[in-house]
Amino acid sequence: MTHLDAAPPRTFLSPFRLKRHVMPGFSLTLGTSLLFVCLIILLPLSGLFWQMSQLGLADYWRIISSERTLASFRVTISAAAFATLFNAVFGLLLAYVLVRYKFPGKRLLDALVDLPFALPTAVAGIALVALYDKNGWMGTLLSAVGLKVAYTWWGIVLAMMFTSVPFGVRTVQPVLESLKPDAEEAARTLGARDWQVFRHIVFPQVWPSFITGASLAFARSLGEFGAVIFIAGNMPFKTEIASLLIMIRLEEYDYPAASAIAGTILLIALFVLVAANIAQSRATRHLHKGSS
């Protein structure tokens, strides 16, 4: 016993070695990823904020609170919110269909989901205009019932929806795939209807990734440019999105104004992403309560 009671030999470790990590290569991997993040993400952003900081607070406020800027924010945010809502619901449905059912053409449909990522957004915008213009296929159909999509707010929503479809599907799809069927079967033997099984068993497990998908889609829609400008009509105060206004200010060599608008949009996106991240991790914690 005595040799076990003896104090372990004291070793002096350098302060950096006090905490041993179980996984090897911590400093190398962290260092490389930080460098990458700095070069690819932070450097361009700091350029933007440096430009923005050239402005005084009063100037910043004057640019942001101008009628035209506010109108563009309103248009952008409302359209992005609507597109996100639609895509989150539709994306979940599509992911569910892709995961749960077998049908001919399933792989093709699965591949189609990623197409909006592959297609240059400007091409998408032009294609949408060709389709929804009053002479286009859809345009003639819709104008027959008195609806107008091209060059209206709805056109913006449509373009944003197109470019952010993959987020809604691809975030929830792996989670749906990983769900074990037995909890759903148990729910059915306990008397749950199909929609009750979805509402009480499936959806709570998908919820964290659903939030992630929606927030990514929203952030993407806020910044969408190429697809939107072709179909939006770009009427100031009505169908002018924020990123177009940035472009206009840049063409006027008004860099501070452009950076002020860009920085604000960026902050909104950042706020949404962080809020979603918090909500997502809270939901995940609730989902796996007690399992540390």
Binding site: D182, A186, T189, L190, G191, A192, H200, G290
Partner: protein, 250 residues
């Protein structure tokens, strides 16, 4: 509350996994489906539960034809092999689930549901776990929750799919006893799927020995030992015979 299984046949692709299986189960009886893996016992249980449907044959319960009835309408409580607890719900919420899913007209009030849940949890001696989540429970506790959840819907029949296979030997013996006493207290018939002869012999009133999708013999434990109907049954029960005879002092 009796179950009649008549000529149930089931294919997986070209494989015949249930070959015209027939069984008559008396009210309140505890039945074991015993057989090696791949003998079709779990498939038969899932067919009874309404989670799978047979290609041929009929199921009837108390004279009512339930062959095509959906699982949720059968009101058979089921305990799954890995318990299939709802991980995002507390123990009490798990047990309350079946009552909460009822149609509004048949649903007890929230107060009645929670009173009922407390009663059930106490009966299963897990009242102190009500607010815990499944991931905070031991294997034995999880099994009790699964059983209590199945009993909460006042099942017409209890279906147990290898409910002891995930537990260590000592816990297994305790739980066998409490499962049997709960089942008798509630007075519900039960069908247990197992590959463990000792388990089947200790729990069941009658045992159906299965092999290759067929029922080799369906009889009381004593008769199975005394009069095995085929060399397969005799051989398969060799170990269990020793277990049973040791009680008789041989």
């Amino acid at each position: 509350m009796s179950l009649q299984i008549q000529n149930i046949s089931k294919y997986y692709g070209a494989n015949l996994v249930l070959d015209a299986v027939s069984l008559d189960i008396e009210p309140g009886e505890f039945i074991a489906l015993l057989g090696p893996s791949g003998s079709g016992k779990t498939t038969l249980l899932r067919t009874i539960a309404g989670l799978q449907f047979a290609e041929g044959g009929t199921l009837s319960f108390d004279g009512e034809d339930i062959t095509g009835l959906d699982a949720r309408e059968r009101r058979f409580g089921m305990v799954f092999q890995n318990y299939a607890l709802f991980e995002h719900m507390s123990v009490a919420q798990n047990v309350a689930f079946g009552l909460k899913m009822r149609e509004r007209s048949a649903r007890p009030s929230a107060k009645d549901i929670s009173r009922r849940v407390v009663e059930l949890l106490d009966m299963a001696q897990i009242g102190h776990l009500a607010e815990r989540f499944p991931s905070q429970l031991s294997g034995g506790q999880r099994q009790r929750v699964a059983l209590t959840r199945a009993l909460a819907i006042e099942p017409r029949l209890l279906l147990l799919d290898e409910p002891f296979s995930a537990l260590d030997t000592r816990v297994r013996k305790d739980l066998r006893f409490s499962l049997r006493s709960l089942q008798q207290k509630v007075g519900v018939g039960a069908i247990l799927v197992t590959h463990d002869q000792e388990e089947a012999f200790e729990l069941a009133d009658r045992i159906a020995v299965m092999a290759d999708g067929k029922i080799e013999q369906f009889d009381t434990p004593a008769n199975l030992i005394k009069k095995p109907s085929s060399p397969f049954v005799a051989e398969f029960l060799e170990g269990a015979g020793g277990y049973n005879q040791s009680g008789a002092g041989i």
